[in-house]
């Protein structure tokens, strides 16, 4: 190898672009870290010097370069992302190794490894360079395949297993087109100099074809290549490709255990810029797929946030907060939290006085049953739970038999944190005073809030599916297995929200035949029933479209029973079932299976009324 030149004006567009983007990224990263709340910032720096950094490095390699998560979701799409990211990365790494080996004194020139083939010429045919020639061609080919697939996807997204892909903005277009151009131009440039600088299977072959271009004009390819790179760097900050550098930072935050807490904090900013707008969430979102209203899906909402578009205030409301998009997101962006941030910002400041909340002393018990407002309005579930509790042998109390204080979730979801706190405090007091060791709730929404927002210390919190599971497995209630075909629907807040998947399935398996449903709508990928209280913007007809679609998917096998474990899911599905498959709560299915072994009903534990009664 021999050096031909050490500088040429064509390196300028690239070098200036590179300088720009390095300064931009350094400043931006500094700002994001500065914007973290102080304790989070400390935690972040501490995590950099702990074992967690190795996890982060592994995650960065897996996600930023290999795109393992996209692979898992969609192999073709995964390959496309991997080939571009990993191929490009390897070209840069190999370029630097070449410089290190053959021109170590040029390592200080940032452009040298990028335009190595132009500056160096091969002196003799030896195995020395051939290895690198081959490797460089190989990875260039890999990237080109990826780019080819990206081009194809842009015009035919369905072929890549995506029903919808995002619409582009101008900065995206510049970045996208330059990204498409960079590697074909590199191929042309390297092919043109392949005769002098050496090449392998790809560059040599293409070299014969571009050989017809006169030597003097050949430098034009290098200019074009450099300009494409430079333009890409300049377009990067305004484009969706900011996700490439930002995702690494987000991974560091995640592994440091930092979550966004309010709009504009560092994690929120990092999450917003980590969105690659791949559009996977558009298909995952039922408001888009079933109700055909994709305009507020996570990807567009995040773009509004990034652009400071006031429309984000409205679109934050149009979400069931079911978490399907978060589960599907290859970057793992918690868009629910981002929506929650906006909701909290625009929530009315607490105007209500909660001092009227009754100071209830409900007596002593081991097990406290909190039915919650929605179960109170679903007597079929409430009756089933009362039967189960009566037969459990536990000393129990129905905490909200006569009057109920909300668990606080609706207030939390609309961002009224102080109001929610007032209810949480009151409920905590009631629960503590009862001396209960276990709190059983029928509603996954309550369950999630009790788990996450309450500090009940040594009181164990169980959803009724978990409680029933224990009663069955310990033999405290006797059930008989029937031949009914039962499909189980995971409620959002119980499954994705609280990771309770096993117990309800075990319960159903003990009392009936648990029918499988397609994995695309099972467990983590479970559908939202469309009844979620979290959405305050969607019309009833769109909600219904979501519900009908979910119901049809769940009951495609015409099961006898569609069982769920949430009063809201049951209510919502019942509205569209029209007699196809009975919709039941898991507690009802259990009571039907224990019918023969029932003991006679005894007096209700408490029945007090606190409100005004008319004569």
């Amino acid at each position: 190898m021999e050096e031909r030149f050490s500088f040429d004006p064509f390196v300028l567009p690239f070098t200036i672009g590179l300088l720009f983007i390095i300064i931009y990224l350094a400043v931006a990263a500094g700002k994001v870290i500065y914007d973290l709340p102080t304790d989070d910032r400390k935690r972040f720096f501490r995590s950099l010097f702990s074992w967690r950094i190795f996890v982060s490095i592994k995650d960065i390699i897996c996600e930023c370069l290999l795109h393992v998560r996209i692979f898992r979701r969609n192999k073709i799409l995964g390959f496309m992302h991997m080939s571009i990211a990993f191929g490009w990365f390897m070209i840069i790494v190999l370029g630097h190794i070449e410089v290190k080996l053959y021109a170590p004194h040029r390592l200080n020139l940032p452009y040298f490894p990028i335009f190595f083939r132009y500056f160096m010429k091969e002196t003799e045919h030896s195995m020395q360079g051939a290895f690198f020639f081959f490797m460089m061609d190989f990875f260039l080919l890999l990237v080109l395949i990826g780019i080819g697939m990206a081009l194809y996807k842009r015009f035919n997204s369905r072929a890549m297993g995506m029903r919808r892909t995002t619409r582009l903005k101008n900065a995206d277009r510049i970045a996208l087109y330059t990204l498409w151009l960079i590697f074909p131009l590199r191929l042309l440039a390297e092919s043109h100099t392949a005769e002098i600088a050496g090449g392998s299977f790809l560059t040599n072959t293409v070299g014969y074809l571009v050989g017809i271009v006169p030597e003097d004009y050949g430098r034009g390819f290098w200019w074009a290549y450099s300009i494409a790179l430079g333009l890409f760097f300049f377009a990067l900050p305004g484009s969706r490709y900011m996700h490439i550098p930002t995702e690494a930072l987000l991974i560091l935050f995640k592994n440091a255990g930092i979550r966004s807490r309010k709009k504009g904090d560092g994690v929120a900013t990092a999450a917003i810029y980590s969105c690659s707008r791949c559009g996977i969430c558009i298909d995952a979102c039922q408001i888009s797929s079933a109700a055909r209203k994709p305009k507020d899906t996570a990807v567009y909402f995040i773009r509004q946030l990034r652009e400071g578009d006031p429309a984000a205030l409205k679109s934050a409301e149009n979400c069931f907060m079911c978490g399907r998009c978060v589960q599907a997101c290859p970057v793992g962006i918690d868009s629910i939290r981002l929506r929650q941030n906006v909701r909290e910002l625009k929530a009315p400041k607490d105007q209500s006085d909660y001092s009227y909340l009754p100071a209830m002393d409900i007596g002593q018990a081991d097990v406290l049953y909190f039915s919650g407002c929605m179960t109170r309005n679903m007597p079929s579930i409430l009756n089933a739970m009362k039967t189960i509790l009566r037969n459990s042998g536990d000393k129990y109390l129905h905490m909200d038999a006569s009057s109920t204080i909300c668990c606080g979730r609706p207030m939390l979801l609309t961002g009224q944190i102080d109001a929610a706190r007032a209810m949480i405090m009151k409920n905590t007091e009631i629960i503590r005073r009862s001396g209960a060791k276990t709190l059983v709730t029928s509603c996954p929404i309550c369950y999630k809030v009790f788990c996450e927002q309450y500090s009940l210390q040594d009181v164990e919190i169980l959803h009724h599916s978990q409680y029933i599971d224990r009663l069955i497995s310990s033999g405290r209630i006797k059930v008989e297995k029937s031949s009914l075909n039962v499909v189980y629907h995971d409620p959002c807040d119980l499954g994705r929200g609280s990771k309770v998947y096993k117990e309800p399935r075990r319960v159903i398996d003990a009392v009936a035949h648990l029918t499988a449903i397609p994995s695309a709508i099972d467990r983590k990928k479970a559908l939202c029933c469309g009844g979620s209280l979290a959405n305050t913007a969607l019309s009833e007809s769109s909600r219904r479209a979501v519900t009908v679609d979910a119901f049809q998917q769940l009951t495609a096998s015409s099961p006898d029973v569609l069982a769920t474990a949430c009063p809201l899911c049951k209510k919502t599905f019942e509205g569209v079932s029209e007699g196809h498959s009975a919709v039941k709560d898991i507690a009802q299915v259990v009571v039907e299976a224990m019918e023969k072994n029932l003991s006679s009903p005894c007096e209700e534990s408490i029945e007090k009324s606190t409100a005004h009664t008319i004569a």
Binding site: N377, E540, E574, H612, T613
Partner: protein, 341 residues
């Protein structure tokens, strides 16, 4: 003689049949149930004058005489517009009847009160619909499930009407008056009973209704409470404890009743959608059939020779249904006369 086929032997179907027969058409009625009179057949007495429902059905049935054939227990299997302009009406056991004109009078069915599970219909012993109460009136025994005389009775208005959550935004028109009628009847039966009506609005739109409402309060002491029921729970003694907000007094009330009566709204009859699909008729988003023009062509459809009457186009009182059915008979006659030329 030209054939007219009528779907439904309710008040609308019977009324139109009598008119058409008088004009001189050969009329056939297809009825899915085993009796005529439709929903009214299961009623005891009717507002505003408390006449027997059975007497009203007799009155609309009497003019039919021998000239009208009613086929009971029949399900429409096909409806085809034929090349000669007639309509082929297919049923399971009658084969295909060729109709020169078809009148759809498929009526309504009551909203399924089970869907408002929070009120406990089908779960609590003593929750009924207004139709259940009518049956009790007919049998002469208005008693709780355990056979006791109810001392407190609550009526819940707008169950499945004006309720976006169940997909019915519209007013079912007749339930308010029915509740006033039934509340008064209960008091006639049990003067000592306490009767409550929980309402959003009271829609007393016809002349006699306001008087009925006035008498219910003045003569019978029915208590009207403006507010929707928010919770209903069953006590051990099978009475129902209600939590309701009195929005005029601005306070929440807890009270228990021995009987809770739900005023279920009107939904299009279950077969209306099927009939509409077979003929290509328009339905509104609530599922009721829509005529060409509600002012001038209220009984006509976009399909030549197919006409509409009664509650298949939306909630109606019985006098409105009778007037609508007569108007449909006139339109059918005009249509058939024009076609003859």
């Amino acid at each position: 003689m030209k054939n007219v086929v009528i779907i439904g032997a309710g008040v609308a179907g019977l009324t139109a049949a009598a008119r058409l027969k008088d004009i001189g058409y050969n009329v056939t009625i297809i009825e899915k149930k085993t009796y005529d009179g439709g929903n009214v057949a299961s009623w005891d007495r009717l507002f505003p004058d408390s006449r027997r429902a059975s007497r009203l059905i007799d009155d609309v049935r009497r003019p039919l005489g021998e000239g009208v054939t009613i086929h009971y227990d029949q399900r429409i299997t096909s409806l085809v517009k034929m090349k000669d302009g007639r309509i082929g009406v297919g049923t399971e056991s009658l084969g295909i009847i060729h109709a020169d004109a078809l009148l759809v009078a498929s009526g309504f069915s009551l909203f399924d009160a089970h869907l408002k599970e929070e009120y406990g219909y089908g779960i609590y012993d003593n929750v009924y619909t207004q139709a259940d109460l009518e049956s009790m009136f007919s049998s002469g025994k208005v008693l709780t499930r355990s056979g006791d005389i109810p001392r407190r009775i609550g009526f819940v208005h707008c169950v499945g009407s004006r309720d976006e959550k169940v997909g019915n935004r519209y007013c079912s028109k007749v339930c308010c008056v029915t509740a006033v009628k039934q509340a008064s009847e209960i008091k006639q039966l049990y003067p000592d009973a306490q009767v409550y009506c929980f309402y959003m609005d009271l829609r007393m739109f016809e002349l006699p209704y306001e008087d009925m409402y006035f008498n219910a309060q003045k003569l019978y002491g029915v208590r009207f409470i403006r507010g929707r029921l928010c919770e209903a729970a069953e006590k051990m003694d099978k009475s129902v404890i209600l939590k309701v907000e009195d929005t005029l007094a601005g306070q929440t009330l807890n009270l228990s009743v021995d009987m809770l009566v739900l005023m279920a709204g009107m939904r299009p009859a279950s077969d209306t959608a099927r009939i509409a699909t077979m003929l290509g008729l328009h339905c509104n988003k609530e599922g009721f059939l829509t005529p060409v023009d509600i002012f001038s062509r209220g009984n006509e459809t976009e399909v030549d020779g197919v006409f509409l009457a009664g509650t298949c186009t939306g909630p109606k009182t019985i006098p409105q249904t009778i007037a609508d059915a007569r108007s449909a008979a006139i339109r059918i006659d005009e249509y058939l006369k024009k076609r003859k030329k």
